[in-house]
Symmetry: none
DNA sequence: TATGAATGAGTATTCATTCAT
DNA sequence: TATGAATGAATACTCATTCAT
């Protein structure tokens, strides 16, 4: 939702660049070169910098988009299935986790981060109301576990079965216990 | 434990460099320059490269030492307190988590990684025998949770209380449940 | 005085751009970006390049206009007051001096330069006839002194009083001496 | 006179680089690329930046050396012949004038600039004592005239004879007048 | 004719690594 | 063996200029 609507071609390039950047940083980590992003997007380097004046801006834009997507996804999940979904995404896209965790996320993207927190809070409250999750836990530790698991999934190369068993441990920890 | 024993001064330099590198990478992340490591170690850059022909080698050496330390620490802990210990270390030293998680850890340091796995396996078996941990869980998910929490601690800036609540969720998930 | 008369709006843009360029280069020096000129003129970058196909052309056009203005001013001055006027302008507008001095001025703007020379020659002749200036000096050194003082004023940041004392030395040098 | 004496090879390179830089900037102006300086000096680009961490530092170093040379030269001249000498140098080396005039000279090289001012002051005082220069003029205007003439010589492409006639005007202006 | 997005060569600077002293 | 100067590839970013809309 850009403040000034872009020309059609500019908008198309913006998207292309974001897509390419997401892929490149997912594959090669955040030290990948902007030149590589341009190459993969099929545009000249200047075009990348016209859209994102700084590499940091480019990274921030990716984060923003990813977080917004997660927030949108939250609507179709309960807390546990949202965990599964996010962790699966993280395993696939390096960036999800890297960026979820970016130290300065709150600094650079306070709104986007807050939205995600809100979405998870809703899921948590619902889950607690329905008795699926113990009322002992609060939002911060739930967010922290989500982030941790993403990071783990990212670096760990877990297979499907293992991922499941890991999440089961955490879910058990979140359920009400006598 | 070098195969050919080093001259005393060379050995001293090796240690100095490792110490400096640990500190530098902990502070500035793995993109910190080798030059900075040399400066902090009080040796010339050439000396660093004589001992560790590659930056990767230097990073690997740090990992190896850190893992060895963790293995040694394992002896004085039960599974839960070991979790607490490792996570606390990770929060303090960027490197612990970064390196625990390094994708190519198994590839580059297969032995060191195996040793840590063995140590955790011992703790796990003991914990299961004593009934502290459910016999449902197996080593891989325990390792994965440990790694995930380290990563989370690293990037999350958790305070003491939050860290405690997070671990409680996981511990509950690991305990036997009716 | 374009050879083909411009449409009214095009002419207006041309002037706007020249005004903006003069201001921008005066403030930021000749390394200021053409984009900044466009911004300040309130036109798109393409418009600047349509009117002045090259940055050099834009600079040349400014020079031309400035020189023409100086020539016009000459009519209202004697040699000494003209010196004062030009030097004061130079102190105010970086460009006057920079451009007066541009190495390729004669090459790129032979006519405009010749006109200025003519104007100064008239002033000089008049001054010599009236006995205000020694008949020993000739046009080239007078022009050279004028250019030098402009350059000096430009870079020197002279205050009013100093500027006066500097000019006094030169004027004394130009006056008839027993 | 570096604080820490350099290794012989490093010192040799430092000089080479300064020489090359002086030539390059003289020819192509201060926008010439550092790469060109390296090429002309016969060293790799990294070497230039090891010696002068910033392009500004390199320019400052040239200035410093040039100013020091001028100060040294002052000892062998009276005021008028010093003027001649400096102006002749400026005509030959773009840099002398450019740098003499550098807006931030006082900011970046206060000592070097002060030394030159001192040297000229000595020459001026002597000239005034001997009656060669009027006691009306003071140091600031003398410095300003020197700088202006350098700038003029730099950009003007004056031939020998013209240079002489220009200086004669200024010298006449400086002499005692009835 | 005006717009402003796209191009791409060019520039300062960094840093792992090599090698002469 | 240690030193630290030299190397040079790599990288983020700029800006004059072109061209599709």
């Amino acid at each position: 939702m850009p403040e000034v609507p872009l020309r059609a071609d500019a908008a198309r390039n913006r998207t292309r660049i974001l897509d390419a950047a997401e892929a490149v940083f997912a594959e090669l980590g955040p030290t990948a070169s902007t030149e590589e992003v341009a190459r993969r997007a099929g545009v000249a380097i200047g075009t990348v910098f016209r859209h994102f004046p700084t590499k940091k801006d480019l990274l921030a834009a990716i984060m923003k988009r990813l977080l917004a997507q997660l927030v949108a996804d939250a609507g179709e999940h309960d807390l546990f299935s949202f965990f599964r979904h996010v962790v699966a995404e993280a395993a696939a896209k390096k960036t999800v986790a890297d960026l979820l965790a970016a130290a300065d996320l709150d600094i650079r993207l306070p709104e986007a981060a807050a939205h995600l927190r809100d979405a998870v809070e809703t899921l948590l409250t619902t889950a607690q109301s329905s008795g699926a999750v113990t009322s002992d836990v609060r939002l911060p530790e739930v967010m922290a576990l989500l982030v941790s698991l993403c990071q783990g999934a990212l670096h760990g190369g877990w297979d499907q079965a293992l991922q499941s068993r890991i999440l089961d441990v955490v879910f058990t920890g979140l359920r009400p216990h006598s």
